[in-house]
């Protein structure tokens, strides 16, 4: 019990933070938002996967990746390829010169399905691909960089370059990838209409639960010995190395794990929004993801989710109300958050959160009189 409590929840404060987040996204949003807004929140929460991955990578590991969009994109594209193949049945594409292949291939005079598209007819393969392809790609990058002790700014630059290369590749090979348009017009998942409101609601909850699970899994990693070594690597890499640890392997692992998390976000994005485009792979979205994590507080997994929500709510609200000048307002929001709360939204919670927990304890005390002693002991345990 205390293992679960300490490791998974990160103590009382962590538990309260986690419960508030879960209540917010699982109960409050669905109750108070209409289905259009809820679907938007679902979209924002897919970016939160990437933001959470950056907390692990950057906040704890000190590895600043300016290319998380790569993995978000790979996950999203894998899912989009599956959905596109399903949408391109010979009946649906009868007007094409070659029925049965995606429409953009037909426009580009491609007459048969390229070999690497073939396996994406299988849903099982697709799910595995969403997780494994980004992780494998991250392993390649990680092994090449960290084994050679490339780090810091150089690593950040290289991740950016890879993001650019991938974008150019996707845009340039439009017959194979859909080019700058991306992969659009995705309608069904195993025959189930994913554009309906009910499907969007289901995806929203699946997305929330996956996100919460990813946060818990990340906590387990961070509170383990691995997490402490990661912190040590961040703060004094050489000392860790001299102590006999293979620093590169730790970095590679966390980079792969972060890639996998981002990719889940990408796949969920495709399912909820109904298309994937190269505009998620490049530099701008990758940097935006870092901003989400920074605004949330780069040491806080839960803060990353709030950071993502705040920025994206801001984007949507400002751009709807002031279509001509919303970018200035978003810029103002960044500056305000960074100036007022240097540790992000999580820093705000750290500074003022104890007032809330104090009040909660007060309430708990009152409630405790009403509940059996045995349960109370557990509460006391956990508080210690």
């Amino acid at each position: 019990m205390s293992f679960v409590y300490e490791k998974l929840m990160g103590g009382k404060k962590g538990l309260i933070g986690f419960i508030i987040l879960a209540a917010l996204i699982l109960v409050i949003f669905p109750l108070f938002l209409d289905s259009f807004r809820l679907n938007l929140v679902g979209k924002y929460l897919t970016y939160a996967f990437a933001a959470v991955s950056l907390v692990l990578l950057w906040g704890y590991g000190g590895i600043l990746s300016l290319g998380q969009g790569i993995f978000f994109g790979l996950g999203g594209y894998a899912m989009a390829m599956f959905l596109k193949l399903e949408a391109s049945s010979p009946e649906n594409t009868a007007i094409q010169s070659t029925p049965g292949i995606p429409d953009f291939m037909d426009w580009n005079q491609i007459t048969e399905l390229p070999w690497f598209w073939e396996p994406f007819t299988s849903f099982t393969f697709t799910v595995l691909a969403v997780l494994i392809i980004p992780a494998a790609f991250a392993y390649l990058i990680g092994a090449a960089m960290f084994k050679r002790r490339v780090g810091g700014v150089y690593f950040a630059i290289i991740t950016q370059v890879i993001a650019v290369i991938l974008t150019v590749l996707i845009v340039g090979q439009q017959g194979l990838t859909g080019g700058i348009n991306g992969i659009t017009d995705l309608r069904t998942l195993n025959g189930w209409d994913i554009t309906s409101d009910s499907a969007k609601n289901i995806f929203y909850f699946v997305n929330c639960i996956l996100l919460l699970a990813v946060i818990l899994a990340s906590r387990v990693i961070l509170t383990s010995k691995f997490g402490r070594i990661l912190l040590a690597v961040r703060d004094k890499e050489d000392r860790v190395r001299f102590s006999g640890y293979d620093v590169a392997n730790f970095k590679i692992f966390v980079f792969c794990f972060a890639a996998m998390i981002s990719a889940i976000g990408g796949a969920m994005f495709t399912l909820q929004v109904g298309f994937m485009s190269p505009s998620f792979v490049g530099i701008v979205p990758s940097i935006e993801m870092v901003i989400f994590a920074a605004v949330g507080g780069r040491m806080s997994l839960i803060g990353a989710v709030y950071g993502t929500l705040l920025i994206n709510f801001g984007k949507t609200t400002f751009s709807e109300s002031f279509p001509e000048m919303w970018l200035f307002l978003i810029g103002g929001l960044f500056i305000a958050v960074v100036m007022l709360f240097p540790n992000g939204l999580a820093g705000l919670w750290d500074d003022y959160g104890h007032h809330i927990t104090h009040k909660l304890r007060f309430i708990t005390k009152g409630v405790s009189k009403l509940i059996p002693q045995s349960m109370l002991r557990k509460v006391e345990d956990t508080r210690s």
Binding site: G182, T195, P323, E324
Partner: protein, 418 residues
């Protein structure tokens, strides 16, 4: 990638309207009757229509790389809507606008189009520019049964029930221009160059088939550069080597500035070389500088310098509303047609219901005699009958129209060019 054009319907329309009123007192009666039709009768699907207003959406990029191109389109749409309102609106209702920013970002276009249709319940949307943004919003319009007026010349290969295409599809722009240059310049060899995405590639595919199969000419080179590319040195060297009779270009957006400046720097000017482009309008010339492409040709359906009454009125109204310095390119004019085409269809349907408006539009006989580009007619395949025009650029950034085709039937799925 194309934009700019203008036309001035308003004052002309106003004039005709006034004449009509004087000639036929019955018209007054009729228009009074339409005023009295209740919102429930002209709107059975829950759109944002009241007894005196109807709400439409405008969805273009106001920020990001496309803003420079899309500004003209949204200005033209606002002008058209203002003019329609000044004439009494549609079915006695004033048009109100909700504007959203697509931010040059395709997912944002999808989000905003859904917001306009689902939350705001707009009766029609005027918007989208690039093919990518149209592809992103298309599933939304089909799912929510919205109505989009799309202004840009584009690659064709598409015909959605929920979209009216007011620009040219590829064959309307390409075939006549090639015929003209083959005849006028006795061109036999062509060098094709474009930006690397769906529109230039599809256009070049059609151009190549036409050059090889119909004109009996030869394509001596075909080259694509990434969007935003500014290095054309290697292409220019190849062009020097191959000495094509015609350079046929579909370079889009900001790349054009580098492309034409580097051509000029390499000594390739209109004195020795014929260049025909399908992607440069008055808007781009503003950025490129007229002196850098003086004497080269563009194929469009509209040029600001077009000499007719409709266009003079349009250019004047546009400048009055948006400033003396504004230029009007092909797409701006096409965007201007959107609200007028919608008005015509709604009035004939006597309803704002999307299905009824589409059904009227699909009859294939909605005409605009007041279009700045001249006469246009809506084909039952949702595209416009229009003329192709070749313009030769002058130093001042305006073009002289040197060739005008007959009215061309739109054919978004051209047989033999696939």
């Amino acid at each position: 990638m194309r934009k700019t054009s203008t036309s001035r319907l308003p004052s002309i329309m106003r004039r005709r309207f006034v004449k009509g009123l004087m000639a036929l007192p019955a018209a007054i009666l009729l228009s009074n009757m339409s005023l009295s039709v209740s919102a429930a009768e002209v709107n059975t699907t829950g759109l944002a229509v009241t007894d005196d207003t109807v709400t439409v959406g405008i969805l273009h990029s106001l920020t990001g790389t496309m803003a420079i191109s899309e500004t003209g389109a949204q200005e033209a749409e606002k002008l058209a809507i203002k003019q329609i309102n000044d004439m009494g609106g549609i079915l006695g209702r004033q048009i109100e606008i909700i504007q959203e920013d697509g931010a040059s970002d395709w997912p944002t276009f999808a989000e905003k189009s859904k917001k306009l249709l689902v939350k705001d319940k707009v009766a029609a949307v005027f918007g989208a520019w690039t093919s990518a943004s149209r592809k992103a919003v298309l599933p939304v319009f089909e799912k929510e049964n919205g109505l989009l007026y799309y202004p840009t010349f584009y690659e064709g290969l598409e015909q959605s029930k929920n979209v009216i295409y007011t620009g040219q599809e590829a064959t309307q722009q390409i075939l006549d221009g090639l015929n003209w240059v083959a005849k006028e310049k006795e061109a036999k060899t062509f060098y094709l160059i474009g930006s690397d995405y769906i529109w230039p590639r599809t256009s070049m595919k059609i151009a190549r088939k036409h050059i090889e199969n119909v004109l009996g000419g030869k394509v001596v080179g075909e080259e694509y550069k990434p969007l935003g590319n500014t290095q054309f040195g290697s292409v220019i060297n190849k062009i020097r080597l191959k000495k094509p009779d015609v350079i046929y270009a579909a370079v889009v957006g900001g790349s054009n500035v580098a492309w034409f400046k580097q051509l000029k720097a390499a000594g390739i000017t209109s004195k020795k070389q014929t260049l025909l482009t399908i992607s440069v309008t008055e808007d781009e010339v503003l950025g490129i500088g007229g002196e850098n492409l003086e004497g080269f040709y563009s194929i469009m359906k509209y040029f600001q310098s077009q000499d007719n009454e409709n266009n003079k009125a349009f250019v004047k109204a546009f400048k009055e509303m948006w400033g003396e310095d504004s230029v009007i390119g092909d797409v701006t004019q096409a965007a201007y047609l959107g609200p007028w085409l919608w008005k015509a269809a709604v009035e004939r349907a006597g309803s704002f219901d999307v299905d009824k408006v589409v059904a009227e539009s699909e009859k294939g006989d909605i005409e605009l005699t007041t279009a700045p580009e001249g006469y246009v007619k809506l084909h039952k395949n949702h595209h416009l009958w229009s003329k192709a025009r070749v313009g030769q650029w002058k130093k001042d950034g305006q073009a002289t129209v040197v060739y005008t085709s007959e009215l061309i039937e739109p054919d978004p799925f051209p047989a033999g060019y696939q």
